[in-house]
Each structure stands twice: as C-alpha cells, then as structure tokens.
C-alpha cells in the first residue's frame, strides 16, 4: 500500500524567516522521490511538515488526498528515519523493531513474528536479542529501516540516513534501500545533500535552494537539462562560461564570451533574447581531446595547470585565455601521459551536451 503525497503551496516560516516557500510537489504512490539541496535549504523542514512535526504556515500537505493539517505524527500513515537513526538504546533489536506494534497494543507473539519477518527482510536474522550498541553502523541503519516499516506505513521518509556511513557502506546501502523500496512498494521520500545518492536511487528528484524548489524531474532530465544555473552547478559538476547571447536558431544559441563564441542548447522552457546575459554550461566529462576525424561543434583552447588522479578518471584543471578556470575529466583507460602542467590543448564539446541559461546565482562549492 502506497500513498500519494501532495504539497500544495506549502510555506513554513520561523518568525520572518522562510524555511520553505510556496512549495508545490506531487509525489506519486510507490515512487522513490528525493529532495536534493545544500544544508539549510529547507528540505528537512519539508520532511517534518510531511511527517507532522511541523504544520505548514501556509498551504496544505495532502496524503492520499486527505489534508493532514493538525494531525500529529503518530496519527499519520508515515514513518520517518532520522538522520541519527534515533534507535532506542535501552531496547533490544527486536524490541526496537516492534515498538510501533507495541504502542498499538499488538500481542507479544504477533510482535515477535513481525519482528522476525522484518529481520529477514533486512538480513539480520538471529540478531534480535542484541542491544543497539552491539550493532555495526550498517546494521543499525537496517534496523532503523525495519523499525520504520513495521507498521506498514504508506510513506517512508528518510532524512539523510546514510550520511554517517563510510563510502563503501553508503554505496551498498543505496542499492539495498532501492531494493527494499521495490520489495515493499511504498512511497519513499528521501532527503539528501549528496547528489550521487539522489541520482542513483530516485525515480524523480526535486532540487531545492533557499526554501524554494528550483527543478523537479527524473534524474537524467535534471542532470542533462538543468532549469537554473543553481541546478546546473549543484547537481554534478559544471563549467560555467559567462557571456552574451549572440544568435538564436530555434533551441540552438550562440553565446559570445571572452574566450570565443560557443554553440549551446537552450531549454524549451527558458526564453533568451539576443543581447541577454547568459551562462553556457559544459560538464567536465563532455569535454574531449579531439582525435583524428572528430568534429565537434565547439572548440576551446586551454592551458593545463594541474591534474588529479581519481581512479577511474583523471581530472584536469586548466585556464582559458581570459583566465577562467575550467575542469575536464578523461577516463583512465585513455593514455594521457603526454599531458602535464603547462601543456596547451585544443578541447572540443558538442552543443547538445551544453546548456545555456539566463545569468543567475550558482551553487557555491
């Protein structure tokens, strides 16, 4: 059983401060939906509004088309997984998992049965009598998930639950979370500031900045066609090229920058006019060193400054003529031993892989 969650024009204010401002989202039942944004952007506030710890100052939260205003967290069909997990340290693993059943007056036998079922789901059979402090980080994580699922909520809310884990474990838990979501088939609403997490797990994501939603859409769409410069730079990495619009041909836009003219693609929803200040974005992985026979829409001359080795890729940092810094990455499989600092290179990128947006605030990294 899953439920739709709808935020209608939701604002949450603390005094004169807007933690969330006129948020409109419709999350479909059974969807894995993520709110992605930097810390302090209001995503946790939204989550608290959905779970019932914070009623919106304006607008309404609908779960299954029912207005939730004034309904406490214990009466809503939602379960929340806290950032610090908030497992009960004085209870055993199975007591933790069965807590929601205990407070509903379910008999001890049925509680134990359900706890065992859930322990199997999270692959922790036989650990039911352990205390929370005897579990490892990943195990605690899974117990928190099992505890939240015990009452079969219609919506599961997750508040950056993976942030405390180390990298390997985090990557494994991403896959596990996704699998659990498919198995139980309920709505997952996930909060994170880690775009990698959001992109790998979610069906759709909403990118937030300063209490407002900048863009909602499927992961690849948000990544490939960002609607604002903030989204372009916050989700993944992007090289901004500042300039003025020179020519418009349907959705192909030519931008004039100090480093030359570039052809870029305009999002259908964004209107640009000739002479407007704009930014063309090109991602590090979309910049190539042309080989014989390659023919790119755009050519760009760079001067290599430094590089770093990341394993699967190498990151190069370079400057353009105007002094603008730019980053590009090359798969490790390609031999780059001839490139060192001071090397001058000609790079190329396709206009379809570059997007142009009106000038606005970037994400600070």
């Amino acid at each position: 059983m899953s439920a739709d969650v709808e935020l209608n024009n939701v604002s949450v204010t603390f005094g004169s401060f807007y933690a969330a401002k006129s948020v409109n989202v419709k999350i479909n039942g059974g969807e894995f939906f993520s709110f992605l944004g930097p810390s302090g952007c209001g995503k946790t506030t939204l989550l608290r509004a959905i779970s019932g710890f914070q009623d919106p100052s304006e607008g309404s939260v609908l779960i299954d088309n029912k207005d939730m205003f004034g309904i406490g967290p214990n009466k809503r069909p939602t379960s929340l997984i806290f950032q610090n997990l908030a497992l009960f340290p004085l209870m055993s693993v199975s007591e933790n998992i069965a807590f929601s059943l205990e407070v509903r007056g379910v008999s001890k036998k049925d509680r134990q049965k359900r706890a065992d079922e859930l322990l199997e789901l999270i692959a922790l059979e036989g650990q039911s009598e352990k205390k929370v402090h005897q579990l490892s980080g990943g195990q605690k994580q899974r117990v928190a998930i099992a505890r939240a699922l015990a009452v079969e909520p219609k919506v599961l809310l997750l508040d950056e639950p993976l942030s405390a884990l180390d990298l390997k474990l985090r990557q494994r838990m991403r896959t596990e979370l996704r699998e659990i979501q498919k198995r139980v088939n309920i709505t997952f609403i996930y909060i994170t500031h880690d775009q990698g997490e959001a992109l790998t797990m979610s069906d759709r994501i909403a990118v937030m900045n300063e209490g407002e939603i900048e863009q909602i859409g499927p992961c690849d769409e948000v990544y490939n066609n960002p609607l604002t410069p903030f989204v372009a730079t916050f989700v993944g990495e992007n090289n901004p090229l500042f300039g003025k619009v020179k020519e418009i041909n349907q959705n192909k836009v030519k931008i004039e920058t100090p480093d030359g003219d570039f052809l870029s693609t305009m999002n259908e929803n964004k209107k640009l006019n000739i002479g407007d200040e704009a930014i063309a974005f090109v991602r590090p992985e979309s910049l190539f060193i042309p080989r014989d026979g390659d023919n790119f829409d755009n050519q760009i001359e760079v001067n290599i400054e430094s590089f770093e080795f990341e394993g699967n890729i190498k990151n190069f940092y370079a400057t353009l003529k105007s002094g603008t810094r730019i980053k590009f990455s090359i798969p490790n499989a390609i031999d780059t031993s001839s490139i060192s600092s001071g090397t001058k290179l000609q790079l190329g990128f396709e206009s379809i892989k570059s997007s142009i947006l009106p000038k606005a605030q970037l994400a600070i990294d």
């Binding site: 214990n74 939602t78 009960f88 807590f99 407070v103 005897q134 939240a148």
Partner: protein, 402 residues
C-alpha cells in the same frame, strides 16, 4: 632521597592525615559502643560488652540507661524518620522530575529565570523553611475549624514531609537536569512518529532513560530527609524523629547507646555501598564481555583472539586490612588478658560502683545534721532572725525621715 620519594611520602602523609581526620572520630565512637561504662569512653576501659546494643543497663541507683534495643523513644523516632523519608521521596522525586522536564521545554530567555527560581530553595536556611511551614499551616489549620484540615495542619509528620520536600525536591531537580541534558530528543520524536501517544512516549522512552536518575534521586532524597535536623526540629511539632531524639538525648547527657546507633548506621552504609559496588562491577563486566564478543565477531578470525592470563595480584587495600587486623588483635588480646569481658567483669564493675556508692552514702549519712541543727539550732532558724526585728534598740540610731 630523590625528590619523587619525598613527594610521594608527603602525599601519603597528607592522605593519612586526611582520612584520620575524617574517620578518626567515627572509629573512636564505634569503639566506645563496646565499653560497658555509662559514659562513652575508651579509657578507662571497663568491660567489653554488647549491652548498649541490647537492653542497656539499670544502674545501681535505679536509673534506667536504655540500650539500642530497649529505647522506645529512639524506635519511635526511627519509625517517624522512615515514614517522613518515604513521604519525601514519593513527593520530591516526581516534583524534581517534572520541574526538570519543564526546563527542557522552556524557551531560552525564560529558561535562566526558571532555573534560578527552581534552585532557590537550596539557598534558604533550613530553619526558615521549617518555621514558615509551621506558621503557614497553623493559619490554614486555624481556618479549617476542628475538622480534617486542622488535624492535618497540626500533624508534625505531615508538616515535616512538606517542609523537607521544599528543598529536597531541588536536589532531585538538579539530578534530573544533569541526566536530561544528555537526552537525545529525537528519540521522543521517533517514538511519536512510530505511533506512540505522548503518554506512551513518557513511560516507554523517557522514564526508562531517567531510571538511573530516579534511583539516585530517591536515595539522595531519603538520605537528606533522614539526616535533616534544622528544618525538622521546627516542623515536627510534638513528634520526634531520629535526629531530634538524638539531639534531645545529647542535651540530657550522652550515652554509649548513641555510639551503638552510630556504629549500626555506619555498618549499614558500608554494607549498602559495598553491595552497590559489587553489583555495579558485575554489570560492567557483563557489558564488557558482550562488547568483547561483539569485537571478536567483527574482527578477522583470531586477530584479537588473545589468551588472557589472569595473574595473581595483591589487592591494593591489603595494607589497610592488615592494619585493622593488627589493631583488632592487639585490642582483643589486651581485653582477654586483663579479663575485661563477659558478665563476670560487668558484675564486678557494678559491684565496685555499688560499694563506692554505698560508701558515699555512709559518708553522707555520717555528715547528716541533727534535727536541732536542721531547724536552726543556736545559729539558724526563724527565732534568731525574728530576734533581729524583736530588738527594741534596732532603730535607735535611726535619724528619721526628715
């Protein structure tokens, strides 16, 4: 002599003096409980005896010196102290807990004011709390006529419970505040989110978390109540608690029965402390073991599987134990050698005192004045004084009033 030796020596001396200062009086007092003499003393040693723990002594002159077992006033005092202690615990622990929980809910600016008000009763002199309680309840009792209120308002035990709760609940409050500061409030939210009502959150999350604080607050409240004197002495009215009984006894002259009582209380305290320590170490060991199992499970096979050999260690307290043993043996041999124990010794001592008493009585009797001497005789009596006024020449030289 190296300076570190010197420092260690001085340190040892300091610790010895400190403990001698702290426990010396208690040790001396404990020993006097076993001396059969009527006045608590070590020397002169009369006889080794348990009489002050039992029924005490009926002196040669017929005066009854009660022992610990036969002193009904002491028993009444202990019973009312226990009742008051229970009352204070059952009032001040909930009050302290509620106040501490409120503190966590209060917003920042009010918080400091609220905290200051809450701890204020500790700063009031106990005497004032005692007197003001009596004054207030006397007024209330006066309003209520002859009914229940007037009975309650003039009941010493009831008033003492209220007066002591007044400041003891503050100590409980401080204990709860310390514990609550480390409470993770997301646990409450988690429980709420999982469907618990506010009441369930309180009983299933907060109370279990506060359990250690509840236990220590209860113990401390009871101890504070049990030993309190300056508030109690006013609010107890016509009743008596252990402390007021002891105080009134001291006023009339102390008896070794008080030493016996002190020793009993010390012994009970030590037993309780040792039991607590044993239980604590046991649970700590259990926890450590469970952690060890956990670590072993996590570690790659056998990497941590070291064999622990428990070598024999001399307990650190051995010097103290040896010292006590040496002194006890010396004392015991002295007592046995000089036959200063048992009923025969006590009888002999009593006999000696009695004969001394009789001797004194005889001396007094031999010095007794005759009937004539008592009624004035040649010097005393009304006649002689009467004669002064009877003398006609008394005012002869008196110059008159002009």
């Amino acid at each position: 002599m190296k300076p570190t030796y010197f420092i260690n020596f001085m340190m040892g001396m300091y610790i010895f003096i400190f403990f001698a200062y702290l426990f010396g009086p208690l040790i001396v007092m404990s020993i006097t409980a076993f001396n059969s003499a009527e006045f608590p003393s070590i020397s002169p040693w009369e006889c080794f005896s348990f009489r002050w723990f039992n029924e005490g002594k009926i002196a040669y002159d017929g005066q009854h010196l009660a022992g610990l077992l036969s002193d009904w006033r002491l028993h009444d005092g202990i019973i009312s102290s226990l009742i008051i202690g229970a009352g204070v615990v059952s009032l001040s622990v909930p009050i302290g807990m509620a106040a501490a929980i409120v503190l966590t809910q209060v917003r920042s600016q009010l918080r400091d004011i609220y905290y200051s008000i809450s701890i204020m009763p500790v700063l009031f002199p106990g005497v004032i709390i005692g007197i003001s309680t009596v004054v207030l309840w006397d007024r209330i009792a006066g309003l209520g006529g002859d009914g229940f209120i007037s009975d309650v308002g003039r009941n010493g035990i009831f008033l003492t419970i209220l007066a002591q709760t007044c400041f003891i609940s503050t100590y409980c409050f401080l204990i709860f505040v310390a514990r609550l500061q480390r409470f993770d409030q997301t646990q409450e939210e988690a429980a709420l989110d999982l469907g618990a009502t506010q009441t369930q959150v309180f009983f299933k999350i907060l109370v279990p978390y506060l359990m250690p604080a509840i236990a220590s607050a209860a113990v401390i409240a009871f101890l504070f109540s049990f030993e309190n004197y300056n508030t109690t002495v006013f609010s107890i009215l016509s009743d008596q608690t252990l402390t007021t009984v002891i105080a009134s006894k001291v006023r009339l002259g102390i008896s070794p029965a008080l030493s016996a009582l002190a020793l009993t209380i010390i012994a009970l305290t030590i037993i309780a402390a040792v039991t607590y320590e044993i239980l604590r170490r046991r649970s700590e060991k259990k926890y450590a073991q469970s952690q060890e199992i956990f670590v072993k499970e996590k570690a790659a096979s056998g990497r941590i599987n070291k064999e622990y050999k428990a070598g024999f260690k001399v307990p650190k307290g051995i010097v103290a134990i040896l010292l006590v043993l040496v002194f006890a043996t010396y004392g015991a041999t002295q007592i046995v050698k000089n036959d200063l124990y048992g009923q025969s010794c006590i009888d002999a001592a009593d006999q000696e005192k009695k004969s001394k008493f009789l001797e004194q009585l005889q001396t007094l009797e031999s010095n007794e004045l005759t009937e004539e001497e008592l009624s004035g005789g040649s010097l005393g009596g009304t006649e002689d004084y009467g004669d002064i006024f009877g003398d006609p020449s008394l005012f002869q030289d008196f110059g008159g009033f002009d």
